[in-house]
């Protein structure tokens, strides 16, 4: 062992002996255990009873179909979103209970019910999960789903790599969930503050869980970025020139350039931290030549571009939804593309604004302050362009539109507070306060709103039926009410002087606003129920909710020019693109008939189990590294390498769907009863918004 570790350690079990020291009698852990394992048991039981194991294996676990991979990414993201929400619930209730020296105190806490040992893990997990394992997978999933369809591709450029990325993300999520029960999770915030994350101040396995979850998940995202860029550059359908690229695909280009160039920085930074903890180097220690602020610099060199990695696709989604429900093309397409690229470009030169208070010289702080403000220019342009898209439009407030408009309002308020934080003189009094926390939640809510809008918008494309609008609207309004009640008080508390990550609230003056936040989070619970209700009702009544190719009747881009749900080969024949808004172009000319003149053979990638195996071995590797079980880590690593090598010898990796088979499938689909197939064809003259929506 190269570093000094407190015992126990032995060659067979590594540090696993440590778990004997945890107090597992805490009812909160018990409740989490119940929720996860009883939930999993019910799921397994249901799979067995309904004999779905084979389907699960063939259609999902071994698939390389970009749509299914996208759906699985989104499912992972939603599950982790739920977990992250529970963490938020605990933070909010703990803070509301731990006010003043006479606050209640139980379960080992000095105030409230979560001692710092637990709360610190909870807020670290909340941040890590929400950014890296909830929002990122959902966005990557949506890009996976939609980008190949928008450019008329059969699949991603590297379908096998795509599945590898998915299973690495799943591994990262699994590691974070395992940390809930075996050992502890990092306590040092999602940013991994050095030197707090060094062995002296974090002797447990928690930081190691965080390190390996971030490393494995980050690798998955980097591979995904390579894949999406290659797909967009090389796999566009004939006629899909760059100036005709749908705006969401454009933002995907910008965002994946960010991911490809910034994620390696994170990998390097966290890798050096891992070396400190495993090998005893001194990259980021306080002494012996270490430079702890270098870690902070490197982390945010990734961290800030990561924020734009998240927000750019969200801007793309808003830019797709608003024209559809305004019955008008996007205003200022070229400007929008330029603005996206400008945001991506500036994103690398603003990282220091996360630590203006480090004590850098005035010149440095001025530079980063102005660079940060520059981001406001293209963002402001985007807001104006959405506004002018709706101007002289015909606005239909279906659920996706509600989310998109909500996102614009949030962007205005988040932009306002962002421009305040960009001024160092102001930043000095609100840095590390809950004002900052409210600001970045405000911005992340922009992303969440756009994402919920996008999920509702593209859901019928992927599954062939619409989500229930009544429940969708209830979900939207309760979510909005919850957001306001949580984050408006949070802004105010920041102006009162409240700082973040507190386990104990010393000032009773903050209590009323903390209480309002608890009410807000209660309304969030209601919105979760409406969300689940929306899914249940929509799935139950899916037969009455079927849609044609163009689910909304006024959609514009190429993905709407194929059947809903999209067949596994995406397009019966590779489409030829004539215009920027291809489907709108075809609809205006009455070319909405999806039947091609003749069918051709379709060449597709074959399912493979290798990505799943790679994911499983990397989980073994990650877990073994956390507990320093060296033999097991070696097995995991050898397993991954062997799987990659064996796969490289596989020759039978693709197959052909004969033209006759495509014809049979297409004609069968065309014959299937669809309540509103007619609307899709007649969409040009009579959009379905004008008709009462289908309700049974």
């Amino acid at each position: 062992m190269l570093v000094h570790l407190p015992p126990p350690w032995n060659p067979i079990f590594g540090r696993l002996g440590l778990i004997l020291h945890y107090r597992y009698n805490n009812p909160m852990i018990f409740f989490a255990f119940e929720l996860v394992f009883v939930g999993a048991a019910i799921l397994l039981f249901w799979l067995t009873c309904t004999r779905r194991w084979h389907t699960l294996w063939r259609d999902w676990l071994t698939t390389v179909d970009h749509k299914k991979i996208g759906v699985m990414y989104i499912v992972i993201g939603l599950v982790m979103l739920f977990r992250g929400f529970f963490d938020a619930l605990m933070i909010r209730t703990q803070q509301a209970m731990a006010v003043g020296p006479t606050a209640v105190s139980f379960l080992g806490a000095a105030h409230g019910y979560l001692p710092p040992f637990h709360l610190d893990q909870v807020f670290t997990a909340h941040g890590t999960i929400m950014i890296l394992l909830a929002v990122t997978p959902i966005l990557v999933g949506l890009m996976n789903l939609i980008v190949p369809l928008q450019i008329g591709a059969r699949d991603m450029a590297y379908p096998y790599l795509n599945a590898v990325g998915l299973w690495l993300t799943a591994t990262a999520a699994a590691l974070v969930m395992i940390a809930l029960f075996i050992g502890d999770f990092s306590h040092a915030g999602w940013v991994g503050l050095t030197p707090l994350t060094e062995l002296a101040y974090s002797p447990g396995p928690g930081v190691d869980y965080w390190i390996w979850a971030v490393q494995i998940g980050g690798l998955g995202t980097t591979l995904g970025a390579v894949n999406l860029l290659a797909t967009i550059i090389k796999m566009r359908a004939p006629g899909m020139t760059w100036p005709r690229l749908p705006i969401f695909t454009w933002t995907s280009v910008a965002t994946n350039i960010i991911a490809l160039t910034s994620f390696p920085v994170l990998t390097a930074a966290v890798g050096m931290l891992a070396l400190d903890r495993y090998v005893g180097t001194h990259f980021f220690t306080a002494g012996l030549g270490g430079d702890l602020m270098m870690y902070t610099n490197l982390f945010w060199t990734w961290g800030h571009p990561e924020v734009y990695f998240l927000v750019l696709p969200a801007f793309g989604m808003i830019s797709e939804i608003i024209p559809t429900f305004s019955e008008k093309p996007l205003f200022g397409y070229t400007t929008m593309v330029l603005a996206s690229m400008a945001i991506a470009g500036v994103s690398w030169s603003v990282w220091l604004h996360h630590f203006f208070t480090m004590g850098a010289s005035p010149g440095v702080n001025t530079y980063f302050s102005i660079a940060t403000m520059l981001v406001g220019i293209p963002t402001g342009v985007k807001v104006f362009n959405w506004l002018f898209t709706m101007y002289r439009g015909k606005l239909h407030f279906e659920t996706p539109m509600l989310w998109a408009v909500g996102a614009i309002f949030l962007l205005i308020s988040g932009g306002m507070t962002g421009m305040m934080l960009a001024v160092p003189a102001i930043n000095y009094i609100v840095h590390n306060s809950v004002f900052v926390v409210a600001h970045f939640h405000n911005m992340i809510l922009v992303i969440v709103y756009a994402t919920f809008g996008a999920v509702t918008f593209w859901f019928p494309k992927v599954f062939g039926f619409k989500l229930d609008g009544r429940y969708g609207r209830r979900f939207f309004w309760s979510f909005t009410a919850g957001s306001l009640l949580v984050f408006v008080p949070m802004y105010l508390l920041g102006l009162m002087g409240m700082t973040r990550r507190l386990d104990y609230i010393a000032h009773p003056a903050w209590y009323p606003l903390l209480l309002i936040q608890v009410v807000g989070i209660g309304i969030y619970i209601l919105s979760v129920i409406y969300f689940l209700g929306m899914l249940a009702v929509s799935i139950n009544r899916r037969e009455t909710r079927r849609v044609g190719a163009d689910a909304w009747g006024s959609a514009r881009s190429l993905e709407w020019a194929t059947r809903s749900p999209v067949p596994f080969y995406n397009f019966a024949v590779t489409p030829v693109v004539h215009a920027r808004d291809e489907w709108a172009w075809r609809r205006e000319r009455g070319l909405t008939d999806l039947r091609p003149e003749r069918y051709v053979d379709i060449h597709l990638p074959r399912n493979t189990v290798v990505p799943l195996v790679i994911g499983a071995f990397s989980l073994v590797f990650g877990f073994a590294m956390v507990w320093r079980i060296w033999w097991m880590a070696a097995c995991g690593l050898v397993g991954v390498i062997a799987a990659v090598i064996i796969r490289s010898f596989a020759r039978d990796t693709d197959y052909v769907v004969p033209a006759e088979e495509v014809r049979r499938l297409e004609e069968a689909a065309a014959r299937a009863p669809r309540p509103d197939t007619a609307t899709a064809a007649a969409g040009a003259t009579l959009p379905p918004h004008a008709q009462p929506s289908v309700r049974s």
Partner: protein, 326 residues
């Protein structure tokens, strides 16, 4: 029926009035940032207001325009529909011009502000050397002030007054109207020094020295905060700040000089052991060994750490938290 309504209204009144009672009972001015009591915090608040005014001038009309468009062009309103209108060079210039202009104004404001409240020599302090302040100087030399060395441990604050050879743990006492110059370092991990009503934040980092300056304009008690998360004892790591008129401050110094707690390099090592300051204990030290600050910096550079025990705060009902270890 009537009774039930009456009950409801009583409950409603209780719900509405409880927070108000809290607001009134606990702090007369809960918005610390809006009530600065020193020129540095005052300047920071001034920039906050200026920034909000500039931004509101742009964002409020945009929000109003957005709401108007949403109402005017909803499908049911049957407003003119023009699906061909997707480009206008004039408007493009406006939509790039407005944010550009705003950012220009704010950038200048920001540039000014950076120098006004620069922790290594805030311009506002130089300006604040007004006659009534000069009259109250501790030192005979105008412009000079009181030096305070700030050392953080896990999880306590130590304020050393090197010229007076005294120190105070978890309480900062300063004379009013006198420029206070802080040198800050940490014995363990990064912390963040923040007194909302007096001065903005500055990181306190191990093996490094940062600086900060401030003046307290009015006597009073203020709250000092550690703003950067620093481990399990972080939430209890705030400190009291008292600004005293000169005579009272000197009386306080004399009391501290008589404290029987001494602070040497050796006793500092005992003080710096991980301690959760649950009780908010304040300690005064006399006869502080000269060079303590430089000693702490040098030790941190040489790799000295004060390790946190494993799962330290899993159960805070344990006896170790109930007593205060120095």
């Amino acid at each position: 029926m009537f009774n039930r309504l009456k009950n409801h209204s009583r409950i409603a009144r209780l719900i509405v009035l409880t927070p108000v009672a809290f607001l009134g009972g606990c702090a007369d001015r809960p918005f610390w940032l809006f009530h600065p009591h020193g020129p540095v915090a005052g300047a920071e608040f001034h920039y906050l207001i200026a920034d909000v005014i500039v931004l509101s001038a742009i964002l409020l009309p945009v929000t109003a325009l957005l709401i108007w468009v949403l109402r005017r062009y909803r499908a049911a309103a049957r407003a003119p529909h023009d699906p061909r209108w997707t480009h206008s060079t004039r408007l493009e210039i406006v939509v790039w011009g407005i944010p550009l202009l705003t950012v220009g104004v704010l950038a200048y404001l920001s540039y000014q502000g950076v120098f006004a409240v620069n922790p290594y020599g805030p311009r506002v302090l130089a300006r604040a050397a007004a006659p009534e302040r000069a009259a109250a100087q501790v030192s005979a030399e105008p412009g000079a002030g009181l030096e305070v060395d700030v050392i953080t441990t896990d999880w306590q604050w130590l304020f050393v007054y090197p010229s007076l050879h005294i120190a105070s743990a978890n309480e900062l006492v300063v004379p009013t109207h006198v420029p206070i110059h802080f040198r800050l370092t940490s014995a363990t991990v990064t912390n963040d020094f923040f007194i909302p009503q007096l001065v903005g934040q500055i990181y306190v980092m191990p093996g490094m020295r940062t600086e900060q300056s401030m003046i307290a304009d009015r006597p009073g008690a203020y709250h000092g905060i550690d703003a950067e998360f620093s481990g399990p004892g972080f939430s209890w790591m705030d400190f009291k700040v008292r600004a005293l008129p000169r005579a009272k401050f000197e009386a306080w110094v004399r009391r501290a000089e008589h404290s029987n707690r001494r602070l040497s390099f050796r006793t500092f090592a005992r003080f710096a052991r991980p301690t959760v300051n649950l009780a908010g204990t304040i300690t005064r030290f006399s006869k502080v060994q000269p060079g303590l600050f430089a000693h702490v910096v040098a030790q941190a550079k040489a790799g000295k750490a004060y390790p946190t025990p494993y799962a330290f705060t899993e159960d805070m009902h344990e006896a170790k938290f109930l007593r205060h270890a120095d």
